[in-house]
Symmetry: C2
Subunit: 612 residues, 2 copies
């Protein structure tokens, strides 16, 4: 699986090494929260470690995966019992939805919806999680999220909680009521289009675990729909909390249907990409009507959140003229081109209320795009970027008035000393609506390593209060990521998000670090691998130096070898101190010295046979 | 070269793609400072970009590399003309220096020193850069460093300087006098053993460019001395400012000689590793005499700085008893074992003055080791760590009294919110002596990706004031790094160090980012590659998506394809704004709109043939 040259598998299934899928039941039998648990070595005296799990049924050996049928519609009952949505025939499907010219026929398989019709709000209803939250209703989705976020945090003694959260309000325990309150305040969103009942509820907000998004896109070469679904499955296997489908070109609609029906995570899109396809790539030919139609098309399919660059106003464009790298957002440049060509205000801005009405009817979250995000260190935090952010603040409040769920996109390329003010401004201007940033990259000089330059900024901005981090792969600026690039990007962002959670003092975050470090210290190699973000790579790297199976039981590793191991002597120090009644050990040093010599004075202990 | 399976080359020579070696002459003809310059595309109107260069003659096509002869002794004349050192026969070479038993013969080639004898201080003299600096003497080494650090910073307009330096004193221009003053204050060190005249002078201090160190070690399998030299050459090719030789086992002395004679960067060691070999790996058998002899052995060979764990005191050991990961420093655990076995104070602490006398006689810098650095998030910033740091502060002042050059080693594993206080304490306790940290890693859960978890901490701690960052490779905690791991680790740390320099507002740092970003924006692909930290990987990644040679000239890339490119429209926006008299453009939007349409309204311009 780690070989670049190997043919891509069809759909990757099966658990990560050492993990078991579990389901924690909530207040009703159809509310079963998926998690994974890692069992540690028998005899080590440690309980299983419970981990947040984005990977869906694909890692559940008890689940049958058939992408032609799609995933079970987990949320349908919850959606329907609220009684505020209704089915309707939906807009007619058109050849241009798939980029086809009149007379052309579709060249990919079409997912069989089995007659399932789209759902939308009944007249006068606002079926969004925000509307429910503001009405004081705790939905099953909110309860699911509470259980999911909570993990075992109650097990962590309060004394261990330490961190700097910069004014966040992370609770000791996540209750359904807390989830409701955060959504009602607009500080969190729970993307959950009723037309995507396959998705497992998750939440994005600064008082919850930091989330990450992975982008996927269709291949230029006509690949199979299976390969497109596999991209999503692969990204969530390594930990993507949401996936954005940024496909362009032909068969967008049909491919997206396959992805949605098989996605256990929220799916985001940038609808203007598809709208642009419908006008043959000519930005100046875009119209509100084409955009509106595309938005409804995607909402009916089940897209959970959409990036809309409504904050890039005509008046902002001249502010980019002296930038080193101008406008680097694709959506931003499309809008800028349209505005320049017509000398008119951005139609997404002028039609913003209508956009919100549509989004609310399908509970599609809006991710307010930062079309003017900086594309270089030189442009970080400039007038164009912050002018747009002010508009995004205005739009946040307008969208909230429609009970649309809102998050805000952020940079980009920003040197470390300019990162924090981005969060401060965003929180202030946008009423603490969740921030969703791309990196930021903290230098421009490392193409080929931009997953790392951006992970530095991502960890920091996550710590400061960003709710979701959009991943960057090693191929950023250079080319299209392959399978291993996606894995590298996702794991890199998982570690950055986790570092942010640790620094914020998230109560459950350190459980995993401590469990892994204890495993490391006690030479429980397999436990160390299994608790890793990428257990396969960890084991593979260990195997490269010490391939023998017995090495997984050895009380040393290849770094220092059997002759001298720092961990081993440390354990002796600890044992000695314990035998001296703990910290009174200093007075007993002479005795310790004797005991140490009496016991052999050797730090290398031959590996013992494995415990049963 | 990027293929894991390919056989290792003998000695890698030749420039990085697009770079030329240059030499900037100082106040005397034998003071020629090596740098590299990247020429940008003809016609782009940009000057060559001058880059700091650690790679030595290996990247100079004009130099003849013959490792049997070693590098030219660049500094010999400077050393001798000061008249404060003298040759002497040196300590007798013993079989145990190479780990040989009586009667065994050495199994590796021995470097032919051609009769060169070791140098040491004349009686009563202190031939250290610190002593010279305090005496008001600007040495050629200091002038070299001033020119080297300065690069083109005078070209940067003052208006562009921005950053947060947390009380550092980074000058607009580095003068030889500034270098002298920083060394005299103890805020910087210039490691330069007279017995290593092959090294190009460099400086480590918070008011200079952030440096990185790469560790190398001999292979367990008896490899050729050429392979050992190549490890060093490979590390400096990618940007290691210093290299630590952490070899253990047999042939340490002989191998180190090959490395030193061929190293254009300072070489550091941890002498207790070799001392331990001399007592057959039994820590409790270590004596001051064996250690002292090893220190002199290495000083005579030319080691430029040594890690000595003198700050780990007997009384500190019980503080580690309740740690999750105890003592993880190898040197620290050796000392702890010795202290426990004898119930005596650390002999490195009790003999510290004698250590300083020896180091001063050879101008070997001391890197005060942090034997109690935390090995897990749980142990970060604990009582043991900070107790040792207090002792390191005491030892700093004691070493300064001998005119020994001093730096201080730091953690380790520390969550983000606990990083800054490490620097604050270190600066306060150690009188601003340079801080030299390993990472820190900001989470424990990503083995296989610990170059990244540690680069996050390294970038931050570098920003806060750390002078040198010790690299971590992807294999950390799991196994021994191979060639590609070393490259990955070095480049990752280069980008972290550079990010720190940007955030500190280092005046010259942003020149490279801006030049690369302009190249990116203007589709000068080759310039973008050549300005990258890893030009080969950047080009390789681009080739994977667009292998055709013409793609390097295309006004698009594989991310958005030719149909729509954000950069292209941005350039049009800029051109339009410029034609509208800059920022008055807003009033002229109608005219702009017309002009835009008149010019075709298309953003894709076919790639033009290459300029000559």
């Amino acid at each position: 699986m780690s070989d670049h040259a190997a043919p891509a598998p069809r759909i990757t299934t099966g658990p990560l090494p050492g993990s078991r899928k579990i389901h924690v039941e909530g207040s009703r039998p159809d509310l079963r929260v998926a998690m994974r648990e890692v069992d540690l070595a028998p005899g080590c005296g440690e309980p299983p470690v419970r981990l947040y799990d984005c990977s869906g049924p694909y890692t559940d050996p008890a689940a049958t995966v058939d992408i032609a049928k799609g995933l079970p519609p987990l949320r349908t009952a919850w959606v329907l019992e609220r009684g505020d949505v209704e089915t309707y025939p939906g807009r007619p499907h058109r050849p241009e939805d798939d980029g086809l010219k009149p007379g052309e026929t579709i060249a990919v398989p079409v997912f069989d919806r089995g007659g399932r019709l789209p759902l939308r709000a009944k007249p006068g209803c606002r079926p969004t999680q925000r509307a429910y939250a503001r009405a004081g209703i705790v939905t099953p989705e909110m309860e699911y999220v509470a259980i999911r976020e909570n993990l075992r945090r109650a097990d962590l003694t309060r004394a261990n909680r330490d961190g700097e959260d910069f004014g966040a309000a992370i609770p000791d325990e996540v209750t359904p009521e807390f989830v409701r309150d955060e959504i009602a305040r607009g500080r969190a969103i729970l993307p959950a289009n009723p037309n995507h009942p396959e998705a497992e509820p998750m939440i994005i907000g600064r008082n919850f675990l930091t989330k990450i998004n992975a982008n996927i896109g269709n291949s230029a070469v006509a690949s199979s729909v299976e390969a497109e679904v596999e991209k999503m499955v692969w990204a969530i296997r390594w930990g993507a909390d949401t996936v954005m489908d940024l496909s362009t070109g032909r068969h967008i609609h049909a491919t997206r249907e396959w992805i949605l029906r098989n996605a256990p995570v929220p799916i985001g899109t940038v609808p203007i990409y598809q709208a642009l396809e419908k006008v043959d790539g000519r930005a100046e030919d875009l119209t509100w009507e084409v955009f509106r139609d595309t938005l409804i098309e995607q909402a009916e399919q089940g897209v959970d959140y959409v990036t809309i660059h409504a904050g890039l106003r005509l008046a902002h464009i001249p502010l980019t003229a002296k930038r080193v790298t101008g406008i680097v957002s694709r959506g931003g440049s499309i809008i800028a081109k349209w505005c320049l060509a017509h000398h008119r205000e951005n139609f997404l801005y002028t039609h913003f209320d209508e956009i919100c009405e549509i989004l609310t009817a399908y509970d599609v979250g809006i991710s307010l795009g930062d079309g003017l995000r900086p594309g270089s260190i030189a442009d970080g935090n400039d007038a164009a970027q912050f002018a747009e952010l002010e508009t995004l603040g205005e739009l946040t409040h307008r969208a909230w008035a429609f009970d649309t769920q809102v998050m805000i996109e952020g940079p980009g390329h920003v040197p470390m000393h300019k990162i924090k003010v981005n969060v401060e401004k965003q929180l202030a201007l946008c009423g603490e609506a969740p921030f969703y940033t791309l990196g930021p990259l903290v230098t421009d000089i490392a193409p080929g390593y931009d997953h790392i330059t951006s992970a530095i900024g991502a960890a920091m901005i996550g710590w400061f209060g960003t709710a979701m981090l959009c991943y960057v792969t090693p191929k950023e600026h250079l080319g299209l990521p392959d399978r291993q690039d996606v894995r590298e990007g996702v794991v890199t962002y998982k570690l950055a998000a986790h570092a942010a959670d640790l620094a914020k003092g998230h109560p459950a975050a350190r459980l995993r670090d401590d469990a892994l470090s204890r495993a490391r210290f006690e030479f429980r190699w397999r436990d160390q691998f299994h608790l890793s973000l990428d257990p396969e790579k960890a084991q593979d790297f260990h195997d490269q130096s010490l391939p023998a199976d017995g090495a997984k039981l050895a009380h040393f590793c290849s770094m220092c070898g059997p002759k001298f191991c720092a961990y081993q002597i440390s354990q002796e120090v600890r044992d000695l101190a314990a035998s001296q009644d703990g910290m009174a050990a200093q007075d007993g040093m002479a005795a310790m010295s004797e005991k140490f010599r009496a016991e052999g004075g050797e730090i290398y202990q031959p590996a013992k046979p494995a415990a049963e």
